[in-house]
Amino acid sequence: MTPEIIYPIAKFIAEKILKQPSKIITADEALISSGLIDSFSLMDLALFIEDTFSVRIEDTELNAETFDNLNQLASLIQSRK
């Protein structure tokens, strides 16, 4: 639905956070509740999103309730643009 948002984030997660560049992360795959991304890396993800899409993500939003997969993250980013 929003590949231009989802793709770079998926790439960032696979390469920089998981260090498995070939890993494919699907848009509805649970990221936080599954333990794929831990709290330390969550911060990296937020900084990457802020820099790439020029939006702000508050620290109180860094949890599975706000976004737990790439689709939810993309909607969050779009709503801020």
Partner: protein
């Protein structure tokens, strides 16, 4: 000035009363002498800060002490606290102290950890420590009860909703005042199945001797110091330096949740600025984390000039991490001399050594080759690769250290050996574990399992004899991770190895797991790697950075069939270099 010196002198005369002082006595004195002084300022994201005076603290603790009495809990029984950052945790802890029960704080279940694994950890803690009581929230009761089995030691699950009403404490009837200084006052556990089965038992005397000795070493001053901490209370650094020390030595403590800090690390800096914080303890990774992840926009108006010591402790110290931190925050008034180091362990209550606070920790540049091959720390040779070791400072006045070889002979200065510690603040025992106690203490010396050397009277910690991974200050036992990896379908049973690898960017160790698979197909091996990553993370709350699934016979075993972790690590690193 003289008044001030008198005050400090008086503080030590209160704390140091051999044979007669216990933790309840100190609490009572603070209650009577400084009831209105703020002891703890609790911070919660999105809520106003909550100051707790000594009166509030004792009243809150008394509610729990009355509850423990109501339930018939006897002094000397172990009470496990399963609570999150907040007032209940603080009051239930000090309430146990006033009641003479032995509190131990267990980490709360997080979204990262699978509930069934949490239950198994709790059951494993219960089987060794044999607590009679668990304190938790009504919402968590079912979770706790599901870990209990017929015939185990737990007789009471106390819910925070059933705690007695506030009442003026009756110091005559509180059972904790009958404790003697030699009695065990608290238990500290580290994490994971292995860690939870080894509760470090500390006496009143040990705790107070540590606080006296360490407090003097860092020139603690109840009139000027303010401790700011985000460290969890189930870990010795948070528990001793940032909870017992401030409360008992009357130093105001600003306490935030580790979960709030990790999402907003700038909150530490803002709290320092707002409350003129002077002292903080951090594991090495936190220096890198703050330097890389705090945004300037969150530091507007922040003034860090009051910060007199930020003490690096609980994982290997890297001077580069201090440099990163200083470069980033010097513009906000941070002093270089604030960056300090300490070597500590729960078995000595906390600190063993501390760098002198009036300078920067010594850095010893040594020849890499001689260090690696001869285990000697010698001066660098021109043109040869060298390495920089950061000093952990001098032993505390009450603590002696030795560096010994395998046969427990003293080694000369600059020779690397195992660090042994002796003091008047050592553990009484590993609780209900005479086997572990006997293995760790030799002729009155605690064998730390850490390697290091002494130069110019200062200790340099250089590695570990014991197989332990320290991730973000948290101790992780590789055998726990290896057995978890073996549970994954397609992994050869008993053919996994876990070890730590230092990551310079993160400033901490990252976990590597290697597992032999039954299948040799690359796609199946990749699927197994994914499954290991998920299963181990959910079952240990440790994120894995490298999972390598290999063919049969990759893993090196010793002749006795044990997994040789260091040999496997070397093999892994070599393969990384080749690729």
């Amino acid at each position: 000035m003289i008044d001030h010196e008198l005050l400090v002198h008086r503080l030590w005369s209160i704390v140091h009363r051999p044979l007669m002082t216990t933790l309840p006595n100190l609490l009572q004195r603070s209650y009577q002498e400084i009831p209105d002084k703020t002891s703890i300022i609790l911070q919660h994201a999105g809520q106003p800060d909550k100051p707790i005076t000594y009166r509030d603290l004792i009243h809150g603790a008394n509610r729990f002490a009355l509850t423990y009495a109501r339930e018939g809990i006897k002094p000397g029984e172990v009470v496990i606290l399963i609570l999150q950052h907040g007032e209940d945790l603080i009051y239930s802890f000090w309430g146990a102290i006033l009641h003479g029960a032995i509190p131990s704080i267990m980490p709360f279940l997080t979204e990262k950890l699978a509930p069934e694994k949490y239950r198994a950890d709790l059951a494993s803690l219960i089987s060794i420590t044999k607590p009679t009581t668990i304190v938790t929230y009504p919402e968590f009761e079912a979770e706790v009860r599901s870990a209990l089995v017929e015939g185990n030691s737990v007789r009471h699950v106390i819910l925070t909703s059933t705690v007695e009403a506030e009442a003026e404490p009756n110091f005559e009837s509180l059972q904790g005042f009958k404790s003697s200084p030699e009695d065990i006052v608290v238990l500290q556990h580290s994490s994971g199945t292995t860690g939870l089965q080894k509760g470090v038992a500390l006496s009143h005397r040990a705790v107070l001797n540590q606080l006296e000795s360490y407090g003097k070493t860092i020139h603690i001053d109840p009139e000027k110091d303010v401790i700011v901490s985000w460290l969890p209370l189930y870990h010795d650094m948070g528990f001793i330096a940032c909870f017992l020390l401030p409360v008992l030595l009357r130093i105001p403590l600003v306490n935030m949740s580790p979960f709030d800090w990790v999402r907003a690390p700038y909150k530490l800096h803002q709290a320092i600025s707002q409350y003129k914080g002077t002292l903080t303890w951090l594991p090495n990774f936190a220096y890198n984390f703050c330097a890389h992840k705090i945004r300037e926009r969150n530091l507007e108006g922040v003034n860090l000039s009051s910060w007199r010591a930020i003490i690096n402790c609980s994982e290997p110290v890297h001077v580069e991490s201090h440099d990163l931190f200083f470069e980033k925050f010097s513009a906000y008034g941070l002093k270089k001399s604030a960056l300090q180091t300490c070597y500590a362990m729960a078995e000595n209550v906390f600190a063993v050594t501390q760098s002198p606070l009036d300078g920067t920790p010594a850095v010893d540049e040594i020849d890499r080759e001689t260090f690696m091959t001869q285990r000697l720390a010698t001066p660098p040779i021109a043109g040869q690769p060298s390495m920089k070791m950061t000093s952990s400072g001098h032993p505390l006045p009450n603590t002696k250290i030795r560096v010994v070889d395998e046969s427990f002979n003293d080694l000369p200065n600059r020779s690397v050996g195992e660090i042994a510690v002796q003091s008047d603040c050592m553990l009484t025992e590993y609780f209900n574990r005479p086997d572990a106690t006997e293995a760790a203490i030799k002729n009155g010396w605690y064998l730390t399992g850490d390697y290091g050397y002494i130069a110019n009277g200062e200790l340099y910690v250089s590695g570990r004899k014991k197989d332990l991974i320290i991730v973000g200050g948290k101790n992780v036992y590789p055998q726990d991770l290896e057995s978890l990896a073996c549970e994954v379908l397609g992994v050869h049973k008993g053919r996994t190895v876990a070890f730590g690898m230092y990551d310079e960017e993160e400033g901490t160790e990252e976990v590597v797991i290697i597992a032999e698979a039954e299948s040799t197909s690359p796609s199946e091996q990749e699927a197994i790697a994914d499954a290991i990553r998920k299963h181990v993370t959910k079952s240990s709350a440790i994120a894995l950075r490298h999972v390598k699934v290999v063919d049969d016979k990759w893993i090196i075993k010793t002749s006795s069939g044990k997994t040789a972790r260091s040999a496997n690590k070397e093999k892994f690193l070599k393969e990384l270099e080749i690729n």
